[in-house]
Assembly symmetry: C2
Homo-oligomer: 541 residues x 2
């Protein structure tokens, strides 16, 4: 028995040979991520701007709030008095970059982009806008997935791109303080040189701003290990709509002096004010990283492997991702750059396990023991372990290639839901069964594929439904079924992507009436004129 296992383990170690290339990235005015975003709501990539329909036309139920003033020359004159000429964009072609989201799904009609260079300038801008009832959209790296960072009508765009200074770093505690417009990857590289890392990582890291991450409570890859931003953000500097600057850039791990107001701004999607500075606790960078790819038959096995990983990999476990057969099929079929699956045959389920620790030998020993126990108990059918950094990237490339592969499968309806782990894959199966029952699934039917993948460790499923094309009939077969299913399983209809304009009217599936009512009271208290990121986040009615 031991010999067989021994040879199986060697097999795993040798068989890798993954030659997966990096997934391609889009050509954008700002530096793009080396990884594409993990999940998107985009049915297509890289459509020319001119072809993107205005959000207002696409969603005719949305009406401009005429309490908001329209931009006048006088307003522009004021902004010119407080900002440098290069910090004001009015040219219609330049405006497009800011009006359209990166998925080319939403398109606003703003005539003005302001790029303040200091918190004081942000304060002056917001105070003026609030006094004159000019609506505002805060914008970070414009990498959001729910249309929250671009205007719907003629809101003024306040871009944080000029506020990108690292203010301080404490090499003892790991507390980093920086402007909200710092790019996540830039911060992570800065920390890498000092032996630390950012406690969050996501596909858009080459473009997204830390202020946007905070404002959308970004989840991503490292949440399983380092927790959410509510735990890692130590302090915020924020500007309220009336121009008040809230100075709370604490670098302290412990501070029990009053209501911890920063948490209201984490995940508020810019509806309460603008985050201008962030203090965040960076953990030490792990010296050793291991990645294994496993093939399994059932989701019960995926769950068993996850439970066991918490016991046996425990403190070194840093990611536990999964995808299904439908996903790998699409990756194999569609991915331009090619993501070679190193496993010999097709499996119903795939798991990517990552460990991060301070001692390579110890981590190898733990991982080998873990994999051995999975094989002995036949929880796993096949697997490979990456032998070097290139192979680690290559295994990740399969996982990261899924959103793009899906986007090439036709019109893809995408959902980002969370729920208790035991029912995670049931969402996929129930959706498939529902479509079969509706006689809408299979060759020559309305829907061709239902794909499931995501972060098992966080109970976060990315559910994709591929259709021939987007139609009202197709939409009606998926929604509200999926939201009702999620609500019925104590889940969240938006695990990590947020609400924006795409989910705000479905909020009641995840929050009670009294919670929504209270949210509205907070909004009204802090932004009585409603100028901050209107038409989004909270339900229309």
């Amino acid at each position: 028995m031991a010999t067989r296992l021994q040879s199986s383990l060697r097999l795993i170690a040798r068989q890798t040979g993954a030659t997966l290339a990096r997934t391609p990235v889009r050509n954008r005015p700002v530096a793009w991520a080396t990884r594409v975003a993990f999940s998107t709501n985009a049915p297509h990539f890289a459509e020319p701007h001119g072809n993107v329909a205005f959000t207002a036309e696409k969603y005719p139920h949305m009406k401009r709030n005429n309490d908001f003033k329209k931009l006048s020359e006088e307003d522009v004159t004021y902004f010119k008095s407080i900002l440098a000429p290069s910090s004001i964009t009015q040219d219609s072609e330049d405006l497009e970059t800011f009006n359209i989201d990166w998925l080319n799904k939403y398109r606003g009609q703003s005539k003005l982009v302001l790029k303040p260079s200091s918190t004081e300038q942000v304060s002056k801008i917001l105070k003026y806008c609030n006094d004159h009832k000019l609506a505002v959209v805060p914008q970070g790296g414009n990498t959001g997935l729910v249309g929250g960072g671009v205007p719907v009508f003629d809101e003024i765009i306040v871009s944080m791109s000029n506020m990108n200074t690292i203010r301080s770093f404490d090499n003892v505690s790991g507390a980093l303080v920086c402007d909200a417009g710092c790019i996540l990857e830039v911060l992570d590289k800065y920390l890498e040189e000092r032996g630390y890392l950012m406690p969050l990582d996501l596909g858009a890291k080459g473009s997204c701003h830390i202020g946007g991450n905070v404002s959308t409570n970004a989840g991503g890859l490292r949440l399983l290990r380092y927790g959410s931003l509510h735990g890692t953000v130590l302090g915020l500097e924020a500007v309220l709509p009336d121009g008040t600057i809230l100075e709370n850039l604490s670098t302290l791990r412990k501070d029990n002096t009053g209501y911890d107001l920063k948490h209201l701004f984490i995940g508020a999607e810019g509806t309460l004010g603008m985050v201008t500075g962030v203090s965040i606790l960076a953990p030490k960078r792990s010296k050793a990283i291991n990645v294994a790819l496993l093939g399994m038959d059932t989701f019960d096995q995926v769950q068993a492997a996850f439970k066991r990983s918490k016991d046996e990999l425990s403190e070194i476990l840093s990611a536990f991702e999964f995808w299904d057969k439908a996903a790998i099929k699409l990756v194999k079929e569609h991915l331009v750059a090619g993501a070679n699956d190193p496993l010999e045959s097709l499996h119903n389920f795939y798991v990517l396990v990552e460990t991060s620790g301070s001692n390579k030998d110890h981590d190898d020993e733990k991982l080998n023991a873990y994999l051995e126990s999975l094989m002995v108990d036949e929880v796993v059918q096949d697997g490979v372990v990456a032998q070097d950094t290139t192979q680690i990237h290559n295994l990740w490339a399969i996982r990261e290639g899924i959103p793009e592969a899906c986007s090439k499968a036709g019109a893809v309806y995408k959902y980002d839901i969370s729920m208790p782990v035991p029912v995670l894959y049931q969402a996929v199966e129930d959706m498939r069964a529902h479509l079969v029952q509706s006689d809408a699934y299979g060759d020559d039917k309305l829907f061709t594929s239902v794909i499931g993948y995501g972060h098992v460790g966080d109970g976060n499923l990315h559910l994709n439904v591929a259709a021939e094309k987007f139609t009202a009939k197709a939409t009606g077969l998926i929604e509200p079924f999926i939201f009702e299913w999620t609500a019925g399983h104590s889940g969240s209809i938006s695990a990590e992507h947020g609400l924006g304009v795409s989910k705000n009217n479905f909020l009641h599936y995840s929050k009670s009436a009294s919670m929504i009512e209270l949210m509205k009271r907070f909004k009204n208290m802090l932004d009585p004129n409603g100028i901050m990121n209107p038409y989004k986040y909270l339900p229309d009615k």
Copy 2:
């Protein structure tokens, strides 16, 4: 060299022989902690209730708010209509237990204790009190250190002691849902049987309620490893003063659907409503625990050892505590049960390092390598490693005996401050220098000792100043010096104990005017009649 080290390590391993007994615990009506609280503001222990002065007399500047109605028979009749007779306490002797804090420092004059058994009962109580302007104090295990959990005047005490049911536990994710009145240690034992642990641990765990922990954002021992409650609490059920029940007992790790309102209640000390249910993410319990006690010459060495522990112990580091020579002297001199210091000679600084991991051999190897490197570089002068669970408890007993030892040193002024780690011990030195300069330090002077200890990993110092007796002159020499010093070093005047009645008027040393103003707006919005835990938390003016 290697041989010397080798024998030194063996020496460390053998020398332990700690025979430290458990620190004594007070005789209280409810089960008390096996550990005493880490830091207290109490000048004495176990004083008979009758001798405790009323808070209102001790602090004559505090005036009863006569907007609040006085309790009438009619009110009691209403409460009798919704609660069982055993859930209502009016007997004057029984009331004392709820009116006086466990440190015998604060004493209220409430005539009524209500012990609801359900969230609906809490809702009815608060709604009635709000409608009739009856002031309320929520009370958990009554183990707070700043007088936040007992009345000041005649507020009605709403005790959560009857709400102590564990509602659910998810063995895959580790999500535990329970009533707010569950005792921390009971929850931890429940989880221990299932291979998990509570992500927080503190001296009062045998009495404190999880709802109180959440309401005071309790820190304690495990924060270094598992982070704050803002990261580990998944959801809350809370009742607003108007009786609205906020149902948000999510068990999801990810949920980006709207403002994350639960964070406002974490650390609000019951001033916004009452927490009635808690959902919290329990981590897996570590299989291996190691504890080492080290003796050092300078605080620079303490810092060097801490930095190195983050590199070398990394993911298994679970505590890094320190105390100074003044602390160990008091422990040796005063501790009744005796806490035998296993190190041969006195050192200027002591560090307790704890590791928790999933593999004992790996952890031993990491810890030995770490200790070896400290010895080679002469960062540490002496040390012992516990050989078994008893010795682990014994080493912890020294650390945990400090608050009690301090309390026997006379009148002890106690502060709980946080700041950047590099200036942590400077607070102690500057305080000592300040008292020397004031000709108030040394034998036959006003102050006999300045003691420093605390959580290095969290930048949290417990600063104790021992005086002959409490006098206005003595107080004037320490305050506001210590608060100004803390503010001048970007610190917090309350790291983990909270504000209550003892710190509320010093809030401006840690929070800006605009932050305090905004806090007041939140308070006024949610509790317009101000019935929830009045006279506390926010500044009087």
